[in-house]
Amino acid sequence: MIRATAFASAWAVLLGSAWALLLTSASVLMPASAWAIDPEPPFEDPQLEAEYQALIEEVRCLVCQNQTIADSNAPLAADLRREIREMMGEGATRGEVNEFLVARYGDFVLYRPPFQPSTWALWIGPAFFVILGMVVFARILHSRMAQPLDKESS
């Protein structure tokens, strides 16, 4: 019984240290660029690269709809990243890229929907319900406060 426990704990230590070793070696051996999904090197201008990264994180991959094209390995996502990269390399602004995408794939391609009549409920809805809740809460509070105290205690 004792031997079995010692054996098990030895295994646990061994496995634990192997895991730790794996994690450290992975973080040491993998340079930041290894996280990139595409073979192309990042933009030389760090600001442009940051803009590009931020943009592709807000574009929906239409093949796997709950992923952004920054996350997705789908061939279409790779094509879109390449296209966007080319456009940005030629100086396209974020608005121009979004326009390009929406003209082809519709608003659905944007993770951040534009503010337009069809999305008013989406954008204003939450604030509307918060205000509604506050009004209801205030009214309940008010009516309770209007009640005389002795009425409740009696």
Binding site: Q65, E83, A103, R104
Partner: protein, 184 residues
């Protein structure tokens, strides 16, 4: 009275929203191209890399542009129907071979039959992006004036053809001699 009416009406509104929302197909993304001019393209042909296929070849007729690839299972599924459709002479079918291997694609056409007047070879998928393609097979119906009239995503079959395509083709042709009538 209000005590009961408010929760019941909230429930009713939510139920209506969920009923509508949950019966929609989230995989279906309507194309913003409908009713707009077909995107410009010019690509090498699949069978003859020296020649190109573009808007000019499709213009002036009611035609189909079918996006296909040998890696696409749905394309194999609909291929028989496309071959029959081409044989019936209803409308000319053009192909957009999407992100494929030329040799494999040519073999596919040899083995399964070639319903296409010609296929464009879009190796990098750039024209596909311009057409808003996101999942093959996709089939576009392009009018005489080069307007995109309809887009179908998923394999085509007899039923979908009769329901979604035929009425739109009939609308386009009117009293003019129509390839559809010639085919029948």
């Amino acid at each position: 009275m209000w005590r009961y009416l408010v929760p019941v009406s909230i429930f009713a509104v939510l139920a209506a929203f969920f009923y509508r929302g949950l019966s929609l197909n989230p995989g279906y993304v309507p194309s913003p191209l409908l009713g707009k001019p077909a995107p410009e393209f010019e690509l090498p042909r699949l069978k003859d890399a020296g020649a190109t296929l573009g808007n000019r070849d499709i213009e002036g007729q009611v035609a189909l542009l079918n996006v296909w690839a040998t890696w696409c299972v749905g394309c194999r599924q609909e291929h028989g129907f496309l071959v029959d459709l081409a044989e019936s002479g209803a409308v000319p079918i053009y192909g957009l071979n999407w992100k494929d291997d030329r040799r494999t694609a040519l073999n596919w056409l040899t083995d399964l039959g070639d319903p296409y007047v010609a296929s464009a070879f879009d190796e990098l998928g750039e024209v596909a992006i311009d057409w808003g393609v996101y999942g093959a097979p996709e089939t576009f119906l392009v009018g005489r004036d080069g307007t995109v009239l309809h887009k179908h995503i998923a394999p085509l079959d007899e039923e979908i053809w009769a329901r979604d395509f035929l009425p739109k083709i009939a609308e386009q042709c009117g009293s003019l001699p129509c390839p559809l009538e010639a085919g029948e």
